[in-house]
Symmetry: D2
Subunit: 349 residues, 4 copies
C-alpha cells in the first residue's frame, strides 16, 4: 500500500487531481492497482519459529504468577508474526496463542462467533467442556470449540496444562461478524459423560437422527487414534515426496474440515526424510509433536524440536527435513480458500 | 395389477374399446389408477424370519457338499420373501442371501454394477479382498464391496465361514443398468496390507489428497469398534423409545450412507425393552448379533435369537421386544428413498 | 427369470435339494446368478413408436365420449411398452400416458408421492394448477407437478387439450412408497396469479429467503423460451455429433433435474443431420415437437413426425435422422441413475 | 487495536513483562481480547453516499482527459469508505470503484484471482469480453468477470461508458491469494457470438454435458429480464416489510451466488414504502437504478437518486424510504459469510 515511490514521479496535474477528489472519497485505482492485485501473493507474514522450552514456557509460567486465569478470562500469550506486529496474528488470516491453565483454575464459560482449536502441548487431564460435555486433554489431542458453542476449561490436576490456541479472529474481523457472550456461571453444567461425543460420532457411524452441522460433532480427536493410523500408514507404504504420511482431520458427518474456517492435519515424516519443495496459498502453522528437524522457507531455516511452533507464510517455497522420525500437527485457512475457489499449490521436484 | 374384479362390472362398450386399443399399445389408466397410485404403500412383501441354526445352517452345509464355491461362483442361498416367490428378493427392492465358503475355497474375483454388503455371521478370519486389499472377517463385521469394485473371497482357515449378503439387485434390474465382468484370475493380487484402508480413512481423518467417492473407502467396519460405541452410549443415557441406541454406518468422506443404494445400522436394545410402534417406507432386513426377543409386525410375531434374519416390509407398524440385551444389524434402501424424496416414517407412542 | 433351460440339465440330487429348501424360503443363487447380474443390461422393454394422428388421437377422442374426466379422475391412455404388457410402463422404470381434457372439464385436485411431468401436445390455454397457482399451457411447454404437490387441471377453452404424462410409478412401486390423497374440492383455490412462479424463480434470480427444495419451483418451462435458446445455439455453432443442440431442463435453485426421479431435455436436430451411434442406461421417451425423421434402434426403425411419441430402451444403440429441422423433447430416469452411481453411456463414431 | 486507554492503568510489573516478551514475538491476549472478540460487530466502515451527477461523473470525465484507459490499465476511481482511508475498500471486505471507458478505448485483457462484478451505470453498447465471448452492456445490466477468467472491455460507441466495479480485493488480500496475469493482446479473440452464454445457460436449461463451476456461466444478467420479473412480482403481491420485492442473482447451475465471494440482488421498493428496520452482518453496497429516496442508517440519512451509490456497514440498523417507485441493485460478501457460518441478520418491526 506504500506508494511513495510512485508519488515521486507523479505529474503535478495528476497529484492536484488526486487532492481534489479526496474529499469526495474518490481515489485513483491506477496508482495502486499493482499493489492491490499482485501477480503472486505478497504476504506481510514472515517465517518464524517459537522454541517452547527456551522462549515460551518460561514466560508462560511467569504470566501464571502475574495474572489469574479468571482475571485474564483467557491467559494466553499471542504468538505474533514478526512481519505484522501489533496485529495479533500468526498468519495474515489466523490467530495463534499459547494458553496456560494452572491447577485449580478455570477459564470461565463463554461463546463467540470465532472458531477455535486447541492443540495440547503439555499436561495431562485438564478438561475442555463444550456444550455440556467435558473432554480430558492429553498431549497431541486436537480439540474443537466451534463457532458459537459454549465452552470453558478447567484444571483439576496438579500440574500446569498448556495448549496451542488457533482462531480465525482476522477472518471474522474482516467480515465484521464478531459476536461474543459470557456465561453467568464459570463452568457449564455437565449434561453428558466424557467420551459421549466420540462414541456417538467417532466410530464411522452417526446417530440415526443426526443432522450434519458445519462443525464436527467430534470435539476431541485423541492423539492415540491419530498416531495409530499414522504408524500403520508408515508401515504399509512409502511416504509421499511432499507430505510424508499426512492425514487431515475431518468432520465425519460431511467429510469436510472440522470447522468451516480452519483445516488441520497431522503428518509423520520418517527419520532422514527431506520433503520435496512445495508451496501453497494457505499460510500454515505447525506444532511439533515428536522428532527434531528443520524447515527451510526460502532463505530462512527454522529449526524445531517437540513443542515448538513454527509458521510458513503463504506461497513461500519450503522443505521439511526430519532428523529423527517426526510428527507435525498443522493448521491453516485452507477450507476458506477451498470454499471461495482461491486455493492453489505448487509441487516441485 | 389384478383387475378381474373391475372387469366383471365393466360396461361392454368399454371392454370393446379396451380390446380395440390394445393392439396399438394403449390401455385405460382409469381402470388401474388406484392400484398404481395407492393411498398408502401396498407391498407384496410379507414379514418373515429365517432361523439360522434350525433352517438355514443345515441346508447351507448341505449345499457345501453339493456344489463347490468355484462352480457356484457364489455359493449363496437366497432368502426369498414368501410374498414374492421366484423373484429373488427379501424386500421389494433388495436381495439377501446367506453365503458359505469352506476351508480352502475361493469365490473368484469379479465386479458388477450391483452394490453388495456382507454381514459376518459365523467363522473367523476368512477374507474379502476389495480393489487389492484383503480384510479378515469376524462375526459382526460389516464389509462392503461397492459398485464396480473388484472383489473375491477366500477361506484360509479350518472352519466354514458364513455371511449375510445384501445387494440392490432389484433396483439395478428396474433401472436396466446391470454390468458384470469376471476376472482372469481367481484372486486379486494383493497390493496393500490388511487394515490399510481402515488406518487411512477410518480414524476421522482422510488423506490430504483424497477425493470423496459415492461409496465409503472404509470397507470393513469392525464389530469391536461398533460394539464399543454402543456400549458407551448405553451407559451414558436412556434408550430412544423407538430405536433403543441406534447408529447408522456412514461414509466418513461424506457423512452419507456407505453405498448409495443401501443404508445400514446397528442398534442395541436393553434387555426388557419394548420399542414404541413405528413404521417407515423402507422395508428392512435385520440380522441378530446378540440377544433374544421378538418383533411384532402387524398380526405376525417374529421370534429371534443370534444369527437369525428377519424382514419387516415397508410401512408395516412394528415393535421390537428384547428379552435380553440385544444387538441388531439392519439394512434397507433408505438412501435411495432419501435421495429421491420418497422416504417417510411414522413414530407412534 | 425363466430358468427352464438349466432345469433340464440339472442333476437330480440338486433338484431334490432345491425342492427341500423351498419351504424354508431358500433358493440357490447359482441357478440364477447370471440372469440377475447380467454382463450388460438386458431390458424387457422394446423400441416402439406411437403415431399420434393415426393411432392415438382417434382413440383418445373416443375415450372422451366413453368416460368423463371426473369419472376417470384422469382420462389417460397408457402408452404401454410392447415388451412389458400389463405392466403400465413405457420403459422399465417409467410410466407414460396421453391425457385428454375436454372443454369445460376438470381433472380434480389430488396429490401423490409420484412425480409427474406434462408435455403439451395439442390445444391452447387449458390450465394446470399446482399449489394454488395456475399456468396456461401451450404446445411444447414442459409442466411439472412434483411429488406431493396438490394439482388439478381444467379446460376453459373451446378445444380439446392433450398432453403427454410422464410419471415415476414403477420406481415408487419398487420402493413401496406410494401415497395419494384426494382433495375435497375439484379445483384448488387460486392464491397466486398465473406467471408468478416464473417471475419469482425463472429469471436466473431467486427470492432472497427461498430455500431450495428437491423439485423445481418453476413449474412451467414455456416452449417459447426453450425454442429461442435452441434457435440461438443452432445459429452460433455446430451441432454435437451425438446430440445436435441439446439442453436439459434444470431446477434453477440447484442446477439439478427438475424433479428427483425424472430428467428432461429438448434438442434441435438440423435438417439432414444423422446423429452418431449412442447408447446409455437410461431408457428414454421422446415426443416430437417439430420436424420429421426416423430413429434407428438396433434393427428397428422408428419413423416419426410432430406429436408422435417413441421410446428407446436402455443400452440400445441408436441414431436419429432428421429429414427436416426437428425438435425433440425427451425424458428418462437419468437423475435416479446419477444419484445412485449407475448411469453409463457409450458414444461411438 | 488502540489500547492506549488500558495502558494507562496497567500495573508496572505487567508492562515490564510485556516489554520483556515482545522480542520473542509474544504478547498478552488479555490486554486485547475484548477488542479482538467483540460482543457485536464493530466495523471501521461508515455509512456513505456518492452522488453520481454532482460528485462522481465530473471527476470521472476529468480522469478521462488525464489518463488513457490503456495507460491506467483500468481507469477507475475508487469509492473509498471514509472510515478506512487509504485502504481502497467500500466495506471492510469489498472494493468498489467507478470505471470509465471512452469511445474508441479498450481496457486490455488480463485475468486475476479476484472476482469482479460490473453494474452498468451510463452508456449503451460498449462490451465486456469474458473467455472469448463479448456482451454488450446496457444500464442496469449485471455483468460478471469471475476469478481467473480472461476479460477485457472496449467501447465502440460514440458515448462514454461508465459502470460500477465490485471486487473482493480485501478478502483475497487477507488470504494472501492474489494472482494476476496480463494478456499479450489487448483484446481477446472472439470465439463465440454475443448472447451465446445466455442462450446456453440462461433459459432454466443447461447443456447436457455441462459441469457446474463455482461461478455462474451466465455472465450478463440483462436488466430487461430482471425488471420484468420485479414488475410482475410487484403486480402480484404485497412487498415484504423489510425488502420490498427483492430477488438475488443466482448461478443457475447451482442455485448459489453468481461468484463465490460476492452476492448481488435487485429490489423494487414501491413509491412511498418505508422498509422496517433491519440489520445484517454483511456490509452492503447499493447502486440506485430508478427512483429517489433516502436510507437512514443509525443517525445518518443518505439521500439518493438514480446512479448514486451508497453503503450500509455491517450490523447497522437501517431503513429505506422510497419517495417514488425505486429499484436498487446491491452487493455484499454474504456468500462468504454463509459458507463460513458467520452470517446473521435481525428483522425488527
Amino acid at each position: 500500500m506504500n506508494d511513495t515511490a510512485q508519488a515521486v514521479s507523479r505529474p503535478p496535474e495528476r497529484q492536484a487531481f488526486y487532492d481534489n477528489i479526496a474529499p469526495y472519497r474518490l481515489a485513483p485505482l491506477w496508482e495502486r492497482l499493482h499493489t492491490l492485485v499482485t501477480r503472486t501473493p505478497i504476504t506481510p507474514a514472515l517465517p518464524a519459529v517459537w522454541h517452547y522450552d527456551e522462549n515460551v514456557r518460561p514466560y508462560l509460567m511467569q504470566a501464571g504468577s502475574l495474572i489469574s486465569a479468571r482475571e485474564a478470562e483467557r491467559r494466553v500469550l499471542i504468538l505474533e508474526n514478526p512481519g505484522m506486529q501489533g496485529q495479533a496474528c500468526i498468519t495474515h488470516s489466523l490467530f495463534a496463542g499459547m494458553q496456560l491453565i494452572l491447577p485449580g483454575e478455570v477459564a470461565p464459560a463463554h461463546r463467540h462467533a470465532q472458531s477455535a482449536l486447541r492443540f495440547i502441548i503439555e499436561g495431562n487431564g485438564a478438561y475442555t467442556a463444550v456444550e455440556g460435555e467435558r473432554t480430558l486433554m492429553q498431549p497431541g489431542d486436537f480439540v474443537l470449540t466451534p463457532s458459537w458453542t459454549w465452552h470453558d476449561h478447567g484444571n483439576d490436576t496438579d500440574r500446569p496444562m498448556v495448549w496451542l490456541d488457533g482462531l480465525d479472529i482476522p477472518i471474522v474481523r474482516l467480515l465484521d461478524a464478531s459476536f461474543m457472550e459470557p456465561s453467568n456461571a464459570d463452568s457449564q453444567t455437565v449434561s453428558r459423560p466424557p467420551g459421549d461425543s466420540y462414541a456417538r460420532y467417532g466410530a464411522n457411524m452417526l446417530p440415526v437422527d443426526y443432522k450434519p452441522a458445519r462443525a464436527s460433532p467430534v470435539f476431541n480427536y485423541p492423539y492415540e487414534r491419530t498416531r495409530e493410523a499414522l504408524t500403520t500408514l508408515s508401515r504399509n507404504g512409502e511416504p509421499d515426496a511432499h507430505f510424508g504420511h499426512k492425514l487431515r482431520y475431518v468432520n465425519p458427518a460431511t467429510g469436510g474440515s472440522p470447522m468451516p474456517t480452519i483445516g488441520a492435519s497431522m503428518q509423520l515424516l520418517p527419520g532422514g526424510l527431506t520433503t520435496a519443495p512445495y508451496r501453497s496459498t494457505d499460510g500454515t502453522v505447525y506444532s511439533v509433536v515428536e522428532g527434531e528437524g528443520e524447515t527451510v522457507v526460502g532463505d530462512t531455516t527454522l529449526t524445531w524440536k517437540p513443542r515448538d511452533v513454527f509458521v510458513v507464510p503463504s506461497w513461500q517455497q519450503h522443505q521439511h527435513h526430519a532428523r529423527s522420525e517426526a510428527v507435525l500437527f498443522s493448521f491453516s485457512d485452507r477450507p476458506v480458500q477451498d470454499a471461495l475457489g482461491l486455493w492453489r499449490e505448487e509441487r516441485l521436484q
